[in-house]
Amino acid sequence: GHFADYGGRYVAETLMPLILEVERAYEAATRDPAFQAEFDDLLTHYVGRPSPLYFAERLTEHLGGAKIYFKRDEVNFTGAHKINNVVGQILLARRMGKTRIIAETGAGQHGVATATVAARFGLSCTVFMGAVDMARQRSNVHRMTLLGADIRPVHSGNATLKDAMNEALRHWVAEVDDTFYVIGTVAGPHPYPAMVRDFQSVIGREVREQILDREGRLPDSLVACIGGGSNAMGLFHPFLDEPTVRCRAVEAAGRGVDTGEHAASLTRGRPGVLHGNKTYLLQDADGQIIEPYSISAGLDYPGVGPEHAWLRDQGRVEYVHATDQAALDAFQLCARTEGILPALEPAHALAHVAEWAPTLPADHLMVMNLCGRGDKDMDTVVEALGLTAGEAKR
């Protein structure tokens, strides 16, 4: 492993040479100022970073406790934090001379980001997506199609994110020569968890600078949702050495962590190996992977990045959870108090904020990662709330 016993490179031998090559190339890139400069330039002018740190004034008043800031990665180009990492990995793929990009996607945000940056550099792009997710995230399927990506529907398993990742790995094994696999979260074989964390850490670095500028001190707490865990890791990582900063990551409890229909791997899972890394997994007594469930396609994954597994065991990060219903309530709370429609993923983080913030004093500074916008989830939310569009509020 690379995070105590967690992490590692549990992949087929066919992939090992390439995985090792990715690691060497990434290490060389991190030492190359030109790489960092190109990364920064694209984040600034293409992605639109820095994303704002926004004082959620009305939400803070409504909850009546901690002072709540949103880190607004939902205003990034393409609508989520995913693109930070994609820019980094595609620059690396170019350095390695790869001409084809593949990716898996759940909610479609990582797929859209990958199709976007691949188009930006004229690279061929194939995205694997569960057939069920394709149906529930149709607008993102359209976006990828129009960006020229080849979208491969995956029908195996539950036809969701886990299955898309299986299929992407299978495809990669057959196309090792010219293909780079852009993994969307802090999971997969080493060096992916570390690499994705590094690329996403721009979130936390910006927060650090912004909150010092606004408040003159570090935040007291950070809150983020966690499926694979890249947005949480990106926010937390630059603060992990600050003992006064509490970090909480919010898993998807689906219909409840005791119902069997959830995606809370750190809350209800056990360590195991899947998708190239050792980490907490939802699995049965026989080590078979349990299909996860969440209303949020982006959290609907039975594992979690290995560094989170390590941080859990250390107790450095607290892992909590929120149900579908709590996320929907938080979605509406955010819409009505701040005019922001969060993605269902960060709506889980907000559900925890709504629970935790009122118990804290007014001088407690809390930063929540509003890591994606809700546009992709409109159909799901409208249906879940039983609304009729345009007639709901008469």
Binding site: R9, A12, E13, T14, P17, R170, G287
Partner: protein, 273 residues
């Protein structure tokens, strides 16, 4: 170490022919039928039996073996039942080596020591764990070794000479050469490429070399058998199972197909000698 594998490859070498390694998923389509299939394999011409341990997320397998695993899991197979099946087979066949093939997670769930001890007790001879590259397999290797089980390493077209040193360091039983970059049951390698690959591997190891992935016909098996010590056939056999699901001639059909493959393997060096 279990001697059955070594003895079997030595016997094949003495006979001047390559062996046929047959893969089936344990308990596909159900425990009883799966056991019948496996029991029939030696008679049909299988020299080594590879038993697939079903896993929900077989990332190195193509659709045929993915589906076989689903059938087995749906029929209630577990890792413990795979070991039961191996033991039941061994009760009736003391000689044919049995190698378990699968993924590490169910093994971790059982525990490395428990699993290897129970596998050895069931008469298993070796293990192939596809998502355990040499970089990660030390704990499993120690546990397997303690129980006399071979941990079989894999080499692939992407394994260059430098890396091959690492793959071979600690390899035992035989070397499994994955002849194409891809998942099981996908494209086939050209015969000449396989000959060249086997020759390259022989320069670095004395282990028997079994070649698999993409071998679907007796002819392809025969082509591999010219240079390799064994040809591994998996997806093609599993496809026969699938084609005969629910039919009374399922076991016979598998046997006939394996007999055909075996004939191809046995004829290989004769044609060319």
């Amino acid at each position: 170490m279990s001697a059955r594998l070594t003895r079997r490859f030595e016997a094949l070498a003495r006979a001047g022919r390559a062996g046929l390694v047959t893969f089936v998923t344990a308990g596909d389509p159900d425990y009883e039928t799966g056991l019948e299939i496996v029991r029939a394999l030696p008679q049909a011409g299988a020299d080594v039996i590879e038993l697939g341990m079903p896993f929900t997320d077989p990332m190195a397998d193509g659709p045929a073996i993915q589906e076989a695993g689903c059938r087995a899991l749906d029929a209630g197979m577990t890792l413990a039942r795979v070991l039961d099946l191996a033991a039941a087979f061994r009760a009736g066949d003391a000689d044919t080596p049995v190698v378990l093939m699968g993924y590490i997670n169910p093994i971790l769930a059982m525990g490395l020591e428990t699993f290897t001890a129970r596998a050895a007790a069931a008469g298993v001879d070796g293990l192939i764990v596809v998502d355990m590259p040499p970089e990660e397999d030390a704990p499993l290797r120690r546990a397997a070794s303690a129980q006399g089980l071979h941990l079989i390493r894999l080499a692939t077209p992407t394994t260059d000479d430098d890396r091959l040193v690492r793959v071979l360091d600690g390899a035992s039983g035989f070397l499994y050469y994955v002849s194409v970059a891809g998942v099981t049951g996908s494209k086939s390698a050209a015969g000449a490429d396989i000959d060249a690959a086997v020759a390259r591997l022989r320069r670095q190891t004395d282990l028997p070399i079994a070649v698999g992935f993409g071998i679907r016909t007796a002819e392809q098996a025969g082509a591999v058998a010219r240079s390799a010590d064994a040809a591994v056939v998996g997806s093609a056999i599993v496809n026969v199972v699938k084609a005969h699901l629910g039919r009374p001639d399922l076991v016979d059909a598998v046997s006939r197909f394996v007999a055909d493959l075996s004939a191809g393997v046995r004829a290989a060096r004769k044609e060319h000698s």
